[in-house]
């Protein structure tokens, strides 16, 4: 039996991913990059991949330089893809994402990097994972239409996002503005 799902506007998906990433402890810019890439270029698989990735405790990614290649061992997509694209935009010729945990996130990040003019990258499979290198791919347009998100994925992302919410108090309500009754 197919599980239930929701169809989200891409801007709503962006807002949800942004909050979920922050709730999952992802640094601000990495969360922003994830939300932008998946909301603009991802589909259901990428959203599910993002959700799984956010379930893993954030850590600063380790990497090694081998000549002009930067290698991320046991690469976690949310941690490594922003760094790999930064490196490729700078002076690195290739980035190897070894044993990458969520390969479905690579294409959205690559598409977004091209769209915003940071780097035109090609990706190929390697023996150990995925390699990004400079290419000539045209910048893709953002995908249109809503994204179908499995209910359990939406629920989990919402729970990550909820970690950033603060319980309301009488004092906080009083400070937010307007009166309890406005019959003027």
């Amino acid at each position: 039996m197919a599980s239930a799902s929701l169809t989200l506007p891409r801007s709503e998906l962006h807002a949800l991913l942004l909050r979920a990433a922050r709730g999952a402890g992802v640094p601000q810019s990495h969360g922003e990059d994830l939300a932008r890439a998946v909301a603009a270029h991802g589909g259901s698989r990428a959203v599910s991949a993002a959700c799984r990735a956010l379930g893993r405790r954030w850590r600063v990614p380790g990497y090694a330089l081998d000549g002009n290649t930067v290698i991320f061992p046991r690469a976690r997509a949310v941690e490594c893809l922003p760094v790999a694209i930064d490196a490729l935009q700078a002076d690195v010729e290739a980035a190897e994402l070894a044993d990458i945990d969520e390969p479905d996130l690579v294409a959205p990040f690559v598409a977004q990097a091209a769209r915003v003019g940071r780097a035109n990258l090609a990706m190929r499979a390697s023996e150990t994972g995925v390699v990004l290198e400079h290419g000539r791919e045209a910048a893709p347009a953002p995908r249109q239409g809503r994204v179908e998100v499995a209910a359990e994925v939406h629920d989990l992302l919402s729970r990550f996002a909820a970690r950033t919410y603060v319980a309301a108090t009488a004092a906080s309500r009083a400070g937010a503005g307007a009166g309890a009754i406005d019959n003027d």
Binding site: P9, P27, S29, A162, Y165, A167, A168, I181, N183
Partner: protein, 542 residues
């Protein structure tokens, strides 16, 4: 995209983006509502009231269809009974006098039935790709009742009373761009008349205004005088929910401000101005004086500021002579004579007003889908130098001082709205929303080595600083992208951010109720649905 090349130096971002200046902004002819009015005229838009199913109590529904180019849009309005005890401007309310949606196209019977059931629930509803904007409004009870009673008695309502309040109903939220399932802005971003920022939301507000007139006339059983109707806009109560937007959309903020500043620079760069424009400026100065004279608010501090502005405006423009304005450098001299942020921002708006042919094309540049992007090719030393050059306003903060971090922004789990807490006393600081741009820039600066280390390598090991790095980099080409203040400071009042954003919308009659929220009037003085053709009145007054 139009050429934003500056004819002369723009005003300094340190000044323009200070809270003092942002909190003194006034609507201009480039404000979104005014731009919308010109677009409606350019597109020969036509509004038809396509349904009016209201009972004697004014409860029921109505639809208004407007055609813009090849597209039709329909406002669906649902009016219902609301107990006085439930009438609150707070976003946490759950019932309103009226609820609205802007439908993409012409709704069929099934659509109407669905929306009548759905939209009164507002945030609790789930909208579809066919709906563009969701809103709700409450009656301004005293004025609404006065208007209805006057019409029932066979007379027109008192003009002074209308002008003082300025609206029959007050919206408490106007949602768009994917919220609660609404269509993404991308769906309409390229369409005629709706490509500007918040254009669909402004169209909705303008259509709501017409509905409020019709509802009062329906209940009063007689038509309102056209001149009075034009003076009735739509109220809006705005709280903290609007403030973080300016921080989270830095390049959009820059676009709005660059357009405004470029327009001023174009006006001031004219060697001389014509006699017609000079006469218009004199007349507009008098209009502004009348507007200021009619602008009354309850808050003593805000009222004192308005009174000071009245006096300053009189001193600046009271003895204006049209012939003198034609002299070379006259307009620049007027700007230079402005000695307060409030006077300077009003003068800016005034000076743009007669020069539509010179500045209106800039409105096309007010939309920006872009975000700051990292240039990873930089060295750490280069970024340090950039911070020193573009963000001294951030470096001047001493974050060891408790006052600098006395406030924190957070998201309340109740309706997921932004709130502001006191760090020393309120819970939740550990879940702080990252609106601390100044603090982030300081931390970035402190952590950056002053050497040739590639920036990407530093940020790979210090990812918490990457967001600030790209925001600082953006400042070199987008100097108005940041509010140049520490929003965590004890004295940083969100009301300034609300004033700035609402001015860009075209709001008038700012009526701050605290440092956290304000009431304003939207669409007052704009053409009615059957008057499309002009772009309305800059600062409306009787």
């Amino acid at each position: 995209m139009k050429d934003l090349a500056q004819p002369q130096a723009l005003r300094a971002p340190d000044k323009v983006m200070s809270l003092a200046h942002l909190g003194a902004m006034q609507p201009t002819r480039l404000s979104f509502l005014r731009v919308l009015m010109r677009d409606l005229a350019r597109l020969s838009a036509r509004v038809d009231r396509t349904a009016w199913e209201m009972d004697a109590e004014g409860h029921g529904y109505a639809t208004y269809t407007v055609t813009l180019g090849a597209h039709a849009y329909t406002l669906v309005a649902v009016s219902q009974a609301l107990a006085d005890a439930d009438r609150t401007d707070r976003v946490i309310a759950t019932a309103w006098d009226a609820a609205f949606v802007l439908f993409d196209g012409i709704p069929n019977v099934a659509d109407i039935a669905r929306l009548r059931e759905t939209i009164p629930r507002q945030e609790a509803a789930r909208l579809s790709d066919s709906e563009l904007v969701l809103s709700r409004a409450n009656r301004s009870v005293r004025l609404f009742d006065h208007v209805v009673e006057a019409l029932r008695a066979g007379r027109q309502p008192k003009a002074e009373m209308l002008a003082r309040t300025g609206y029959l109903m007050r919206t408490t939220a106007v949602y768009g761009n994917g919220k609660f399932g609404l269509a993404d802005r991308a769906r309409i971003a390229e369409r005629p008349g709706l490509s500007g920022p918040f254009a669909a939301e402004m169209l909705t507000v303008w259509l709501i205004r017409g509905f409020t007139h019709d509802l009062a006339e329906h209940l009063g059983g007689a038509p309102l005088d056209r001149r009075l109707k034009r003076m009735l806009g739509v109220g809006n109560a705005t709280g903290l929910g609007m403030a973080p937007f300016l921080v989270s959309h830095p390049l959009l903020l820059d676009a709005w401000m660059q357009v405004r500043e470029t327009a001023l620079a174009r006006v001031l760069a004219q060697p001389v101005i014509g006699a017609a424009e000079a006469r218009a400026l004199v007349a507009l100065a008098a209009d502004a004086a009348r507007y200021l004279a009619s602008w009354e608010v309850a808050d003593p501090r805000a009222m004192a500021e308005i009174e000071a502005l009245r006096a300053d405006w009189a001193a600046l423009t009271g003895a204006l002579d049209a012939a003198a304005l034609e002299a070379p450098g006259a307009l620049m001299a007027l700007m230079e004579a402005c000695h307060t942020p409030a006077l300077e921002e009003l003068a800016l708006a005034w000076l743009l007003e007669p020069f539509g042919a010179l500045v209106d094309d800039l409105a096309e540049c007010q939309a920006s889908p872009f975000e700051p992007e990292l240039d990873a090719r930089q060295t750490c030393a280069a970024l340090r130098a950039m911070i020193a050059a573009h963000a001294p306003w951030a470096l001047s903060c001493d974050f060891d001082e408790a006052a600098e971090t006395a406030q924190f922004w957070y998201v309340s789990e109740e309706k997921l709205e932004p709130r502001l807490g006191a760090r020393a006393t309120d819970p939740g600081a550990e879940k702080e929303t990252p609106l601390d741009t100044a603090r982030q820039i300081c931390r970035l600066h402190d952590a950056l080595p002053d050497d040739a280390t590639p920036l990407w390598r530093h940020l790979a090991e210090n990812p918490a600083h990457r967001a600030a790095a790209r925001r600082v980099q953006a400042l070199s080409s987008h100097p108005y992208a940041e509010v140049r203040a520490n929003l965590l400071h004890a004295e940083a009042a969100p009301i300034h951010l609300l004033r700035a954003k609402l001015s860009c919308f075209g709001a008038t009659r700012f009526d701050p109720k605290s440092r956290l929220w304000t009431r304003v009037t939207l669409a007052q003085g704009l053409p009615l649905a059957d008057e499309i053709g002009d772009d309305g009145t800059w600062l409306p007054h009787l």
